[in-house]
């Protein structure tokens, strides 16, 4: 595998790789919503790589190497020696259709030699848990699926995904990697700690929590955030994700963060369903524990990567917007921690998301996470 890195900014346009000697099969790009809206960046990439699949999404910040940028568009062009790549995409009409959408998407990608699937999904109009349930239903739980939900900074207004087309809302796309040579490794960790009493989800409907211990959940968050910060909900709510404990699956670690607020009703909408009757506990983190969590994700991915790799290795980092919000300028620390674990020989690109997709370390089934750092390493084995 060969990687070319390039980036775009308003001042200089696209910079980076020279014209490729051999055409790339896949171009992956991330940028903020304003940068991607209108489709100009896509068209420019399409011009540069007319024969490649071009896929990307809007974010809450782009990662390249040790740097985070809000204004630049970052991209990599990948040329595989012995791996086939396909890009599939679907339109999602409503949250309720999430599972069906996952099924359709997976059917398009399904093939006997499918070796890994990287999903980029709309971040606001999709029930991520259901989407993944649909994908798993078709592909089974043995296939490794990673990816993330597109972001919109801390605005939570609109997210964009484009796959061989201009980025648009209500899209779900995926890259299928095919063939024996393809290597796929991943890690996922958070670094959050639970605190305070356990609370009961006394009333919920899908992802909307209506009552926690009989009280509107917005009241709880307002108390904890203070009035000033609470005004910045849902963004400020990312500081206190919820650890969900489901009696039916006691070993499953589920972390959910707030995605939308109904101030009149006092209800909060989370990234995926929160079953009524389950136990919830607030979580918090400090700069160091979050960085340590990210390092753990890097370590997992590195140790999962098989030996005998030929060519370049690409790490796609998908980290939660909530982490960046909490860490501020210290966000860099988590990228440093991942880099230290992965080593210098791995090219790193990525974005801050509204949800991360990866199998958790405890179970093999891929899940939607919030507030984690997930690291996906792709590479090719030596012939």
């Amino acid at each position: 595998m060969h990687i070319q890195y390039l980036h775009w900014n308003a001042a200089h346009g696209w910079r980076g790789a020279n014209a490729p000697r051999e055409p790339a099969q896949l171009v992956l790009y991330f940028g903020n919503r304003e940068g991607l809206a209108g489709g100009a960046r896509y068209r420019e990439l399409r011009d540069r790589y007319p024969d490649s699949h071009v896929i990307g999404c809007s974010t809450g910040g782009q990662i390249h190497g040790d740097d985070i940028s809000d204004d630049e568009v970052v991209a990599v062009a990948l040329r595989f020696a012995r791996t086939r790549v396909r890009v599939v995409n679907e339109v999602i009409e409503s949250r309720e259709g999430s599972r069906a959408c996952g099924v359709r998407l997976a059917r398009q990608a399904s093939a006997a030699d499918l070796a890994g699937l990287f999903v980029l999904s709309d971040g606001l109009s999709v029930n991520g848990g259901e989407l993944l349930a649909g994908i798993t239903e078709v592909l089974g739980s043995d296939l490794h699926v990673t990816g993330g939900l597109a972001g919109d900074g801390t605005q939570f207004e609109q997210t964009l995904v484009g796959a061989d087309g201009e980025p648009a809302p209500n899209r779900v796309a995926a890259i299928g990697f095919y063939g024996e040579a393809f290597r796929f490794a991943h890690g996922c960790a958070g670094g959050w700690d639970v605190f305070g009493p356990r609370r009961k989800v006394t009333k919920s409907e899908g992802p909307v929590v209506i009552e926690l211990d009989g009280e509107p959940p917005l009241d709880l968050y307002t108390r904890y955030l203070g009035d000033e910060e609470a005004a910045a909900m849902p963004g400020s709510g990312l500081a206190f994700p919820l650890r969900i404990h489901d009696e039916a699956e006691p070993h499953r670690q589920i972390v959910r963060s707030v995605f939308a607020v109904d101030r009149d009703a006092g209800t909060l909408t989370f990234a995926a369903d929160i079953p009524q009757g389950c136990t919830a506990q607030l979580m918090r983190a400090n700069f160091d524990s979050l960085a340590a969590g990210a390092g753990e994700a890097g370590r997992q991915a590195r140790s999962a990567l098989a030996d005998g790799i030929e060519g370049d290795k690409l790490a796609i980092l998908v980290s939660c917007t909530g982490r960046r919000r909490v860490m501020g300028q210290r966000t860099q620390d988590e990228l440093d921690a991942v880099a230290a674990e992965l080593g210098d020989d791995v090219v790193r690109i990525g974005f801050y998301s509204y949800g991360e997709i990866a199998p958790p370390s405890a179970s093999g089934r891929c899940e939607l996470h919030n507030q984690t750092m997930t690291v996906t390493v792709i590479a090719e084995a030596a012939a």
């Binding site: 605190f195 305070g196 904890y224 955030l225 501020g328 210290r330 620390d333």
Partner: protein, 625 residues
């Protein structure tokens, strides 16, 4: 001095390509970082403060819940109607005692809590209690004592309790408490004893019942087999009890049974006396009891039971018959012994009641015979083995006025079977209804064919009165045969009136209304209750043959006959004397103004062909008609 990683990064970010640091940009970055830190610190402080508040609230709630749970458990332990205590496992000091416990020990808990058994109980009791505690603590196994009497406490020493003690250990497995419960089971044990008594005793007489007797017999058989000893079983049945029951009613019958049972139990002291149903009793004699002792006991019982029993102002006389079977001579298993004692009893009854009979092997044969006879009787009617004989009845001057129809059974191999043998059998199995109807029909048909309009008398069994539609069948037979009802006379014994008196009386009245005459048979035997004569206008009274045959031998018989006659005359009821065999008897009866007679003097029972002349048929005509 090492530069903070963040500051280093900020300086790098504020440095342009030429290496020049933009101080304004750097200041912004540093300031923002301070702001972020402040915000994070404020958020953290706030979260910690709120968390503490929430945890305190939760803690308070948990404490309240705990308190409520404790109160709940306390109130249950306090109010449970079983004494509950707990002691320190180390020194047996009481640490808990509930209200039932206070009642059990008869002292308030203040006097017990914190004290050892030695400080509370008398020395001897304290020693037992402490020893039990030690054993439970040392062994770790619970102690359970069932149904024992109170050892301590002042609340009545006649109470029975179940007590158990068990060890409770702390989380490290070290003995912590000895917990005990003491339950008053006096009522339960008393109830169990009562139920057990009821299961093995007869409710009326309180004697052991059949199942208790069977168990005792089985046990005795086992012992006797092992020790090669012998013993006797007595089977007893009250004589004439049924009549008492019928005449005076069940309440009196029950009292009589109780009185008889008391006498039996008192007299047969040292034996096992059981009531096995109705008026049947069994006695199991002690081991090694010899035949003579069994006989002596049997005879003693006949004597004491035979004495008048005064029951609720009634003077009643019942007797008892006794059958004896001896192990091992008369059987080595329970079934055989009981069956043989029963056949001995049956023989005692048959031989005139108030007797004691040992089982003899021929009794067995008798019993078998009896069953065979009963079997044959079922076929007798359809195989034309039954015959009707006629015996003439005459005025004192010898003029024949009618015949009594009498049933005979001519068995193909046995010959003539005596009526007193087979009629009771027919009554037992109900065949008498069918047979009785047949006799009636035959007698009526015969009488209807006689040229002379003589009376025909037919005996009716009490069974015929109790079952079937007698009135209808008589009516039917009269219509069928064309016999004038006035020529038919039915003879009944007191047995018909005993039992359902009203029903029998109504039936008699209806028969009489048809024109049929009703005679009271066997007068002078049985109860001969005068009230029967009063309650129904009998057309005739028949004096039992036993009085007539004794006329010459015993003066009392003559007196009785006189008395009956004068009574009947006073009531305007004609009298027939039965069993008149001699001229002297006839002369006496004529002198005493007896109206009619029947007996060998007039003629024996025989086929009607023997009396053709009397019924007005010329022999020739009859033969060739």
């Amino acid at each position: 001095m090492t530069t903070h990683r963040l500051l280093a990064r900020q300086i790098r970010q504020a440095t342009d390509e030429s290496g020049k640091v933009d101080l304004t940009r750097l200041g912004e970055l540093v300031s923002a970082a301070y702001e972020e830190s402040d915000r994070d610190r404020r958020r953290t402080d706030r979260a910690i403060k709120l968390m503490i508040e929430e945890l305190e609230q939760t803690h308070r709630r948990a404490e309240q819940d705990l308190l409520r749970a404790r109160e709940f458990l306390d109130s249950i332990i306090e109010n449970i109607p079983i004494a509950v205590f707990a002691k320190d496992a180390k020194d047996s000091r009481y640490v808990l005692l509930n209200r039932a416990g206070e009642e059990y020990y008869g002292m308030p808990r203040e006097e017990m809590l914190g004290k050892t058994p030695e400080q509370i109980f008398p020395k001897e009791i304290a020693r037992v209690v402490s020893e039990q505690d030690r054993r439970v603590v040392d062994s770790g196994t619970p102690m359970f004592q069932e149904g024992h009497l109170l050892e301590v406490g002042v609340n009545g020493h006649d109470r029975l309790v179940n007590s158990r003690k068990l060890l409770v250990c702390d989380s490290n497995g070290a003995p912590q408490y000895v917990v005990g419960v003491i339950e008053d089971v006096t009522e339960r044990i008393t109830n169990e004893a009562r139920i057990s008594h009821l299961a093995h005793h007869d409710a009326l007489t309180d004697l052991p019942n059949r199942s208790a007797f069977n168990a005792a017999l089985d046990e005795r058989l086992e012992r006797a087999q092992e020790a090669s000893t012998s013993f006797a079983v007595l089977s007893l049945d009250l004589d004439r009890f049924k009549e008492v029951n019928d005449v005076f009613g069940h309440p009196v019958g029950d009292m009589l049974l109780r009185a008889a049972a008391d006498r039996l139990a008192a007299e047969a002291d040292g034996t096992f006396v059981a009531r096995i149903g109705g008026d049947e009793f069994m006695i199991l004699m002690p081991e090694q009891a010899r035949r003579e002792e069994a006989l002596t006991l049997g005879e003693r019982l006949v004597e004491v039971i035979g004495k008048e029993l005064e029951v609720d102002d009634y003077l009643s006389q019942v007797g008892v018959s006794v059958g004896i079977a001896v192990y091992p001579d008369d059987g080595v298993d329970a079934a055989t012994l009981l069956a043989n004692a029963d056949s001995a009893l049956y023989r005692a009854k048959r031989e005139g009641r108030g007797r004691v009979c040992f089982f003899e092997s021929e009794m067995d044969q008798e019993l078998r015979d009896r069953r065979l006879l009963q079997h044959d009787l079922r076929h007798a009617l359809e195989q034309n083995q039954l015959l009707v004989y006629f015996q003439p009845q005459a005025r004192m001057d010898g003029e024949v006025i009618g015949f009594e129809a009498l049933l005979r059974w001519k068995h193909p191999t046995r010959g003539f079977v005596p009526p007193d043998r087979f009629i009771p059998l027919a009554e037992e199995n109900g065949l008498i209804i069918q047979i009785g109807e047949w006799v009636l029909r035959e007698a009526c048909r015969e009488a209807a064919s006689w040229p002379r309009p003589l009376q025909v008398a037919v005996n009716l069994s009490p069974i015929q009165f109790q079952a079937g539609d007698l009135e209808r069948s008589i009516h039917q037979i009269l219509l069928e045969t064309g016999l004038a009802p006035t020529r038919l006379e039915v003879e009944i014994t007191e047995g018909v009136l005993i039992g359902d008196f009203t029903r029998a009386l109504n039936l008699l009245r209806r028969l009489k209304a048809l024109g049929i005459r009703i005679a009271m048979d066997d007068f002078g035997t049985g109860y001969s209750s005068l009230s029967y004569l009063q309650s129904f206008p009998f057309d005739k009274i028949k004096i039992d043959r036993s009085f007539i045959s004794n006329l010459e031998a015993t003066p009392q018989s003559a007196e009785i006959v006189r008395a009956v006659l004068s009574l009947a005359h006073a009531l305007n009821i004609p009298v027939v004397a039965e069993g008149v065999e001699t001229e002297a008897q006839r002369a006496f009866l004529e002198q005493e103004a007896c109206e009619e007679m029947q007996g060998y003097l007039v003629g024996r029972p025989d086929l009607i062909e023997r009396y053709l002349d009397l019924i007005g048929v010329a022999v020739v005509r009859r033969l060739y008609a």
